[in-house]
Symmetry: C2
Subunit: 154 residues, 2 copies
DNA sequence: CTAATATCAGGACAACTGATATAT
DNA sequence: CATATATCAGTTTTCCTGATATTA
């Protein structure tokens, strides 16, 4: 049914997947840079933001839990956590039931910070989505994100 | 309280924007890692792939042109180009009309390589989109990508 | 002289791998 | 002993900033 090859060099052929791939690749690169740009101005890095929102949503977790959830190595997540602990956003307490584990949870300061909306105001991406996309467009984005998850979740 | 999952982080902002932002941030991180993963031994990096596809689509360009198009600094693009020149994929010739410029174009080898479909077969992302998303879903993705461009272009 | 192009040099960041100590 | 957690140390990648030479 599909004897067509994925031939990027033939513009006359229906290669919407290839075009989508290129657009997506470009978008990921730009988004990555944009997020990092914003991180310098007092914001948190994307990884840090993601961790805080995850802890807020799902409750306390260990470094390994978070690494699995974000799809990165425990060592890499360890560095993210260290930065958050240093910033006083996250507190680690030993698990009484398992001496290997350290349970990470949001600090009181961090909760206040979030409740005051400072997290949201400093969240460039959320701010921009809110400002630039209307409700209907946000729905399209939500649908597309679900599709994109299929691509990266193996 | 569980109903206020997202409200904690954004009491004065549309909660769906915050959730979308988190999902998108997570996706970008995972996609970035996925793309790098796939760039194995003889494969190209995402930036390199993007440059080749752009040259193929829009014709010869200078380092600065490409940097502008991809949203990065000329120095950064210079490194990408150097790698592609080293790999024999891209050739630079001086602009006779402007001594500052070097016009970059695809090498004969690179064109053959693309026409043989090897570029596409090595394009994990295009392959995966084709395999995992049907036509309708690809349209949703295309629409969403247009929206996302609005967020990063500015 | 000012602006654009390209490149050299050095740095920051976020991920990686490998090795190790400790607890289950 | 085998497995899981966490961390230390070093590396890689990809982008960045700053400075400089050259040409328009």
């Amino acid at each position: 049914m599909d004897d067509k090859r994925y031939d990027l060099a033939a513009p006359d052929m229906d290669s919407s997947a290839a075009r989508l791939a290129q657009d997506l690749r470009l978008l990921v690169g730009r988004m990555k840079r944009r997020l990092r740009e914003q991180a310098g101005a007092g914001d948190l890095t994307p990884s840090q933001t993601s961790v805080l929102l995850r802890l807020e949503k799902h409750g306390p977790a260990t470094t390994s839990d978070l690494a699995r959830a974000e799809g990165m190595r425990p060592q890499s997540m360890g560095a993210v956590i260290s930065a958050l602990e240093e910033a006083g956003m996250v507190i680690g307490t030993p698990d009484p039931a398992d001496g290997r584990r350290t349970i990470l949870s949001l600090s009181e300061n961090c909760r206040n910070w979030m409740q005051e909306g400072r997290a949201a105001r400093q969240d460039w991406l959320a701010r921009t989505i809110h400002a630039r996309l209307d409700t209907e467009e946000q729905e399209v984005l939500a649908t597309a994100l679900a599709l994109l998850k299929r691509l990266v979740d193996d």
